[in-house]
C-alpha cells in the first residue's frame, strides 16, 4: 500500500484536493531534512564555513536577517490542507512567536527561529508533507500558480498539475542549483492572469491551439527588482510533450551565459535585455534541437497521476443562486459588504470562492496568528472540503464554499478578526517586511502600509473607491511588487532619512506595465497624505466604471504629477 492509499484508507472522507506524497516523495523530503541536520552540525563543527554553508541553508529557506534567522516554508502553488495549516500554527507556537507571515510568493515565513531548531521544524513540516526546499538561493524557486486554480470560471486547465510536475523536476536539480541568481516560475491556466506570470523569470500560460491541443505559451525575462521588465514570449506554443525539454534548454542557456560578474545584473531578465529576445530564442531553440529530448518526453501517465490529486471535490448539485444568501445579505449589511467585496464567482453553481483578508485596518499585511491559522483550518473543514490557498496578494482563499454557508462562515471569521471586507480595495495592501525585519531594506514598509490603511479606515469610502492595488517595497529589490501596483511605493534612504518614491500605472496582469515615477520622494509622514490626494483626484476625475489605472491611462501621468506638485506648494518639504 502506498502512502497515498494509506492516507485514503485512514480518512476515507478526506477529498484529494492537493498533491499527496507517495513513498518516493516522502523519502526524498526526509532525506533532505537529514542532509540539512548534518549540514547544521558540520557548520557548528567548523567543517563548513559560513560562506560555504550559506547557499545550502538558503536552498532550505533559511535566511539570516536583521535580528534573527528567518525560515521560509514552501507552499507549492499556494495550496494547503487544513492539517497542514494546523501544523504551521503549531510550529509558530512551538518554535516561533505564535505567528507567521504569508508572502507574495505564496510562502510562509517564520521570523524568529533558532538555527539549532530548524532541522526539527523541517522534520515537523515533513510530517505533513511540506518542506522549505528552494524557497531561497540561486536555484529554481517554489513554483507559484493562480490562487483560483481549479475553481475559476475563466480557466482552460488547472495549472497546479503542471506546477507540481515542475516542483518535482526542479527539486535538487543536479545542473541548475548554482545558477547566476534566483529563478522564479509561475503558471496560469486562466484567461485572466492572477499569478503575475509576465513578471517572473519564466511565466507559463496554458493555452489551447487551433487543433484543441493543450500547450504552453512560454514567457521569459520578466521580473521586478531594481531593473523591472515585462517578460517576452520565447515560445508561442510549446506542446506539453516538449515542456520539460524546452525548460531545460532555457535553464542551460541561462546557467551558461547569465552574468555572474554583478549580482544586480545576474537575473535572466538582464540577459534577455542585453542580448535581445531574438538571440535568446535562437540559443534556446538550438539547445532544444541539440538535446536528447527522449529523456524529457512527457509521460502522460505520470501527468495523469499528478492531475488526479487535483480532482474536484464532491460538490453537491445546487441552484446557481442561493436564496438563503440573498436573504442573509438583506438582513445583515456588514455581511452583504463582505460578500460583495471578498467573494468571487465559482465555476460550480451554488458555490463561491472566499478571500479571507490578512489586511485588517492598521494590521501587518500577510501576518496571521497561530489561533487565526487554526480558525482558517477549521473553517476550511467545516465549509470548504479542507482546502486552503495562499494568494500572492498575501491573503487566504477558501476555494469551495457553498453560498448557503457563507453567513455561518462569515460569523466564524468575524469572531476571529478575519472578516475584513477589503479584498482588492485600497487597504488590501501588499507589503514586504521592510526595515522592521529585513537586512536588505532601506526603509520601513509595514508602518507605511498601516498608516495608509488607517487613513482609509472608513469602509464605505473604500467601497466607493473600488478596486485599487497599493504595493509597498522597503528597498529596490521590490519584494512588495511596487512596480506593478496601480499605486506603488518604494522606500529608500536619502541622507539618513527614509524617502518614499511613488509610482503610478503598474499592472501585473496580461496587460502588464511597470509603474512610472510620480516625482521626488516624500517622507513617511507625508505618504498617506499624498496617497489620499491621488485617490481623491481619481475620484473627482473618473468616468463611470473606470478603475484607477484606466483613469491614469486616459488622463496621462502629467495630470497626476500635478497632484504631487500641489502637495509641495501646500508647504510640504518635498
Amino acid at each position: 500500500m502506498t502512502a497515498v492509499d494509506l492516507r485514503v484508507a485512514q480518512r476515507p472522507n478526506a477529498p484529494l484536493t492537493t498533491y499527496r506524497y507517495d513513498e518516493y516523495d516522502a523519502a526524498f523530503v526526509r532525506q533532505r531534512v537529514a542532509e540539512f541536520r548534518e549540514q547544521v552540525r558540520r557548520r557548528l563543527s567548523g567543517a563548513l564555513t559560513e560562506e560555504e554553508f550559506r547557499p545550502f541553508r538558503l536552498m532550505n529557506g533559511l535566511y539570516l536577517q536583521l535580528h534573527a534567522y528567518m525560515l521560509r516554508v514552501a507552499i507549492p502553488y499556494g495550496t494547503l490542507t487544513a492539517r497542514q495549516m494546523r501544523q504551521l500554527a503549531d510550529i509558530a507556537d512551538k518554535w516561533d512567536k505564535g505567528y507567521g507571515h504569508f508572502t507574495t510568493r505564496q510562502n510562509l515565513q517564520y521570523n524568529w527561529p533558532k538555527l539549532v531548531d530548524t532541522p526539527d521544524i523541517l522534520e515537523a513540516l515533513a510530517d505533513v508533507e511540506m518542506h522549505a526546499i528552494q524557497t531561497s538561493g540561486n536555484c529554481i524557486r517554489n513554483v507559484t500558480a493562480d490562487h483560483f486554480a481549479g475553481v475559476a470560471v475563466d480557466e482552460i486547465e488547472d495549472p497546479r498539475p503542471t506546477a507540481e510536475f515542475l516542483r518535482q523536476w526542479s527539486s535538487l536539480h543536479p545542473e541548475f542549483s548554482f545558477l547566476p541568481r534566483k529563478f522564479k516560475m509561475a503558471v496560469t491556466g486562466a484567461a485572466h492572469d492572477r499569478a503575475a506570470i509576465l513578471v517572473h523569470d519564466i511565466g507559463l500560460r496554458i493555452v489551447r491551439n487551433d487543433d484543441g491541443e493543450i500547450g504552453y505559451q512560454v514567457v521569459v525575462g520578466g521580473g521586478l527588482g531594481r531593473s523591472p521588465f515585462v517578460g517576452k514570449v520565447v515560445g508561442e506554443f510549446v506542446p506539453r510533450h516538449d515542456l520539460l525539454a524546452f525548460l531545460e534548454a532555457i535553464m542551460r542557456v541561462y546557467n551558461r551565459f547569465g552574468r555572474r560578474d554583478n549580482k544586480y545584473k545576474a537575473r535572466i531578465k538582464i540577459l534577455v535585455h542585453e542580448k535581445g529576445i531574438d538571440e535568446i530564442r535562437a540559443a534556446v531553440e538550438n539547445e532544444f534541437a541539440a538535446m536528447d529530448r527522449s529523456v524529457f518526453a512527457h509521460d502522460p501517465n505520470e501527468f495523469e497521476r499528478i492531475a488526479g490529486f487535483f480532482a474536484p471535490p464532491p460538490y453537491e448539485t445546487l441552484p446557481r443562486d442561493s436564496q438563503l444568501l440573498r436573504a442573509a445579505k438583506l438582513g445583515t449589511p456588514a455581511f452583504a459588504n463582505f460578500v460583495d467585496v471578498n467573494v468571487s464567482a465559482h465555476k460550480i453553481p451554488g458555490y463561491a470562492i472566499v478571500t479571507v483578508s490578512l489586511k485588517p485596518i492598521g494590521g501587518v499585511p500577510g501576518d496571521a496568528t497561530s489561533d487565526q491559522m487554526r480558525v482558517l483550518a477549521d473553517a476550511s473543514e467545516r465549509f470548504g472540503f479542507g482546502e486552503l490557498r495562499v494568494s500572492h496578494e498575501q491573503n487566504i482563499i477558501l476555494p469551495h464554499v457553498k453560498q448557503d454557508d457563507l453567513l455561518a462562515l462569515w460569523r466564524m471569521l468575524d469572531a476571529a478578526g478575519l472578516a475584513t471586507a477589503n479584498a482588492g480595495l485600497v487597504s488590501d495592501i501588499i507589503s514586504c517586511p521592510g526595515l522592521d525585519y529585513c537586512s536588505l531594506a532601506t526603509a520601513r514598509s509595514i508602518p507605511i502600509a498601516q498608516a495608509i490603511s488607517k487613513r482609509f479606515a472608513d469602509m464605505s469610502r473604500q467601497r466607493r473607491i473600488g478596486k485599487l492595488g497599493i504595493k509597498i517595497s522597503g528597498c529596490i529589490n521590490a519584494c512588495g511588487h511596487h512596480h506593478v501596483g496601480a499605486i506603488g511605493i518604494l522606500g529608500l534612504e536619502k541622507k539618513g532619512q527614509e524617502s518614499y518614491q511613488i509610482t503610478l500605472g503598474g499592472d501585473p496582469t496580461f496587460s502588464a506595465s511597470i509603474g512610472e515615477i510620480l516625482g521626488p520622494g516624500v517622507t513617511a509622514e507625508q505618504t498617506p497624505d499624498v496617497i489620499e490626494h491621488l485617490v481623491d483626484f481619481y475620484l473627482a476625475e473618473r468616468e463611470e466604471g473606470e478603475a484607477f489605472i484606466d483613469t491614469w491611462r486616459r488622463l496621462g501621468h502629467a495630470r497626476f504629477k500635478d497632484v504631487l506638485r500641489r502637495e509641495g506648494e501646500d508647504g510640504a518639504d518635498i
Binding site: 523519502a27 542532509e35 567543517a47 547557499p55 518535482q168 543536479p174 545542473e175
Partner: protein, 168 residues
C-alpha cells in the same frame, strides 16, 4: 591537492603540467587549453593526454580532440559558480568517455550534483580536504537514494521507478 573518486580520497594518476614544463613522451599529463593543440600534434596518438579548461569553454572547441583525450578537468572559479555543471553535461552529450574532473573549491554537499552531471572525480585544495574529510564526501554520495530528474547520472530516477511500479 586531494582527489576524490567514488567517495574515497585516492592518489592522482595524472600530473598537471606547468606551461613552462616540456611535454614528456609518456605518462598521464594534463595540459592547459592553449597547449592542447601542440600536445595533440607532438604526442603519439595513444599517449595519455588530459586538458584543464575554464568553465566558460565552448564545448565545440574540444569536439575534435574528444576521442584523443583521457581526461578533461573543468575548473570551478568559485564553488557557487554552476557553469561547470552545464559544461560537463555538454561534453558527455558530445560523447566524451574519459575521466571528467571538477577542479576547485567544491564542497562535499555538491558531490551528488557533480556526479549527476557526469563528473567522475573532484579535485580540491588540501585545506578544504582537511575540513571536509573522506567520510563527509562518502556520506554525501549516500544522502539521497533517488532523484526526480531523468537523464542525469548517479542515482535512480523517481519517475522511472513510478513508471515500472505502474507497469507491474
Amino acid at each position: 591537492m586531494a582527489l576524490i573518486s567514488e567517495g574515497r580520497f585516492i592518489e592522482d594518476a595524472w600530473r598537471r603540467l606547468a606551461d613552462e614544463e616540456a611535454l614528456p613522451k609518456a605518462g598521464k599529463v594534463i595540459v592547459s587549453l592553449p597547449r592542447l593543440q601542440h600536445a595533440l600534434e607532438v604526442l603519439a596518438p595513444d599517449a595519455a593526454l588530459g586538458v584543464i579548461v575554464p568553465n566558460v569553454t565552448d564545448p565545440s572547441a574540444l569536439i575534435d580532440a574528444l576521442p584523443r583525450l583521457g581526461l578533461i578537468s573543468i575548473s570551478f572559479p568559485a564553488f557557487s559558480d554552476g557553469r561547470g555543471f552545464s559544461l560537463a553535461r555538454l561534453l558527455r552529450r558530445a560523447g566524451f568517455k574519459g575521466e571528467l574532473r571538477a577542479s576547485g573549491r567544491l564542497v562535499a554537499d555538491q558531490y551528488s550534483h557533480a556526479v549527476g552531471c557526469g563528473f567522475d572525480t573532484i579535485e580540491i585544495p588540501d585545506d578544504l580536504a582537511e575540513r571536509q574529510d573522506e567520510e563527509q564526501w562518502r556520506a554525501a554520495l549516500n544522502v539521497y537514494t533517488m532523484s526526480y530528474q531523468r537523464g542525469y547520472s548517479g542515482r535512480g530516477s523517481i519517475l522511472e521507478a513510478r513508471r515500472s511500479a505502474a507497469r507491474s
